[in-house]
Amino acid sequence: MTVEAASPQETVATRVAGIGRTLIPDRWLGLVLLAPSAVVFLLLLIYPLLYGIWTSFHSVDILDLASGGGSFVGFDNYLWLLQNAQFWHALKTSTLYAGIVVTLQIVLGTAVALLLHQSFKGRAFVRGLVLFPYMMPVVAVILVWMLLYNALFGAINYILFSLGLISRIDAIAWLSQPDSAFAGVVLVSLWKYFPFVVVIVLARLQVIPQDLYEAARIDGAGAWSRFVDITLREIKDVLIVIALLRTIFMFNNFEVVFLLTHGGPMQATLTLPILVYETALDGDRAFGRGSAIAVVMFGLLMMTMMVYFRFLRREDRQ
């Protein structure tokens, strides 16, 4: 019976392969099929990357952009960078921002995934609902949060006021003070992106064999032991992958920070992507210097990527 069921499929497959073989040799067919994505990849990724590196060794102003020119300055842009306090500040802010946000995302995402892994009424609905922040367009999310943060009519101040925690006079201008602005950006980034963690951790939780928990119960493990010895050890690998990926995403994040605070107040939320924007596209339009910052970011993220790939290779070997 299996043979009968398989044979029609086989014929179709053979026939399709047969057509390919008569028109184009196998070796070429592969290249032809790869070509469109290869072209897109080259145009949209490799070319800008190489152009960015090229620009970082040149002095390029807005007129040079049009002509494609620029004067070679060697490592000048990088030397400028190393002596620029703003760059070091932004590097620190970026690292802090990415580190805090990713940690919180993993803790919250894992906790929510564990909750959603339990069976309760309306679970499917709540699982869908959790994805909501991740699927909303960034600009819409930011507009809503700016309303919430608003000093005069924002909901957050209103709640604090209703609870008697602040007086009307002390209304907090959340995004206008360095510390609260940084916290505010962290909170929005956490809210917007934690569902990513939930989805992946939940998927991993669902394939942990139930037997393991039962065996552990019989072996005498309590709920906490079962979580540490089974759940955590089972999801450890995906948590590492998530941490690396989210670090790359958050380190690179431009839109949330830019739309909420433009890197302010008093550079409290000035991350590297914002600094690239300010240097290259705002103010003095120093494309060479901006590119130099971008190239440094690229180098840092490449190192993270290498850790990621090394980890994936190790996983494959196992």
Partner: protein, 364 residues
């Protein structure tokens, strides 16, 4: 070690899915008992209730005289071997073995000692530092057994532990299990759908179907005197031949009749017999095939003769029904032959009616 007593133990899933309709029997201390039946018969649920992984809907479970019905698995002093082995994938074999001891705060020195003893007993010393995924199926199986044995539990539960092994290894591990039980002497409760495993390993077999116990007894008894049609068909390969027909009487002697074929019934069966629809059962090895179709034999035609190594299975057509006889491998019978059958009178089974629950009619 402990005696396990089921006191009207019942499990209903949801509103009306009866998994176990009420178990009411006792497993003797130190014995090896198999729960056997087709999938969905409730045997696994019964085992999981003993483990404490499933809460009974009603009834009680007692180890010796201790009521363990509401106890957590860890408080029952049981160990279980899972069908999937359920070895902790991130832990080495050694860590797997001693996990239960760690959770019970057994001191390190004693843990090492026990691991060494169990590893030697099960021949797994060379793999102690390996992870489960680096082991073969048979080695994993040993580790799973070791993890259960190391705790020296009162009751040892095994849920289809051999079904993930290939045929050859399964036979080998079956023998090892028997040896192991003889050596440790712990009460072992074994769930399987394989009646052969149940027959070869057990002191007693509990045959279950649809949540109900069909028969409890030593393997020999369950095989030789099945209580009803279900047990008769389930135990033994090839299955017992069952022929539907009716009882009637001639000259004060009861006989079985179907499509003109008659089988005289021994006196021991006639006493309990009335005229009614019955099933006549005969095991393949209790049929003798003769070349001549004389008076005392049942005429049949051979469909196929199948050689299975040491023996032959002869597929026969008797009055429009197919039955199977088991003969020596050198039997000259061939497809198409017309033969006479002789049923061993003392090995005939008679069932009251034709349903699955049809009770065996016993002498007296």
């Amino acid at each position: 070690m402990a005696r396990v007593r089921f006191d009207k133990l019942r499990k209903v899933f949801g509103r009306d899915v009866v998994a176990v309709a009420g178990l009411d029997f006792e497993i003797a201390d130190g014995s090896f008992v198999s729960l056997v039946g087709p999938s969905g018969c409730g045997k696994s649920t019964a085992l999981r209730m003993i483990a404490g992984l499933e809460e009974p809907t009603s009834g009680r479970l007692l180890f010796d005289d201790r009521d363990v019905t509401g106890l957590e698995p860890r408080d029952r002093d049981i160990a279980m071997v899972f069908q999937s082995y359920a070895l902790y994938p991130h832990m080495s074999v050694r860590e797997n073995l001693e996990y239960g001891l760690r959770k019970r705060r057994v001191p390190a020195a004693e843990r090492d000692q026990r691991v060494a003893r169990i590893a030697a007993m099960l021949h797994i010393e060379p793999f102690l530092e390996r992870k489960p995924r680096q082991l073969s199926g048979g080695q994993r199986q040993r580790v799973a057994l070791g993890r259960a044995l190391i705790r020296d539990p009162e009751v040892f539960l095994l849920d289809e532990p051999l079904s993930n092994l290939d045929a050859k290894l399964r036979v080998h591990m079956r023998a090892e299990l028997a040896t192991l039980h003889a050596r440790v002497g712990t009460t072992m409760i074994y769930v399987t759908h394989d009646q052969l495993e149940a027959m070869t390993l057990s002191d007693r077999i509990v045959v279950m179907s649809q949540g109900v116990v069909q028969q409890i007894g030593p393997p020999e008894e369950v095989y030789a005197r099945p209580a009803n049609r279900f047990v008769a068909e389930f135990i033994g390969t090839p299955s017992m031949n069952l022929m539907a027909g009716e009882l009637d009487e001639e000259g004060g002697k009861a006989r079985f009749r179907r499509n003109g074929v008659t089988v005289p019934l021994p006196d021991s069966l006639t006493a309990a017999a009335d005229a009614r629809q019955v099933l006549l059962g005969i095991r393949p090895e209790d049929i003798r095939i003769t070349a001549d179709s004389g008076e005392a034999t049942i005429p049949a035609q051979v469909a196929v003769a199948e050689l299975a190594g040491a023996e032959k299975y002869i597929y026969l057509d008797v009055a429009g029904m197919q039955i199977i006889a088991r003969t020596d491998a050198d039997s000259p019978v061939r497809g198409g032959d017309r033969v006479g059958l002789h049923f061993r009178p003392d090995r005939l089974h008679l069932f009251d009616g034709t349903s699955d629950e049809a009770k065996a009619i016993r002498a007296g």
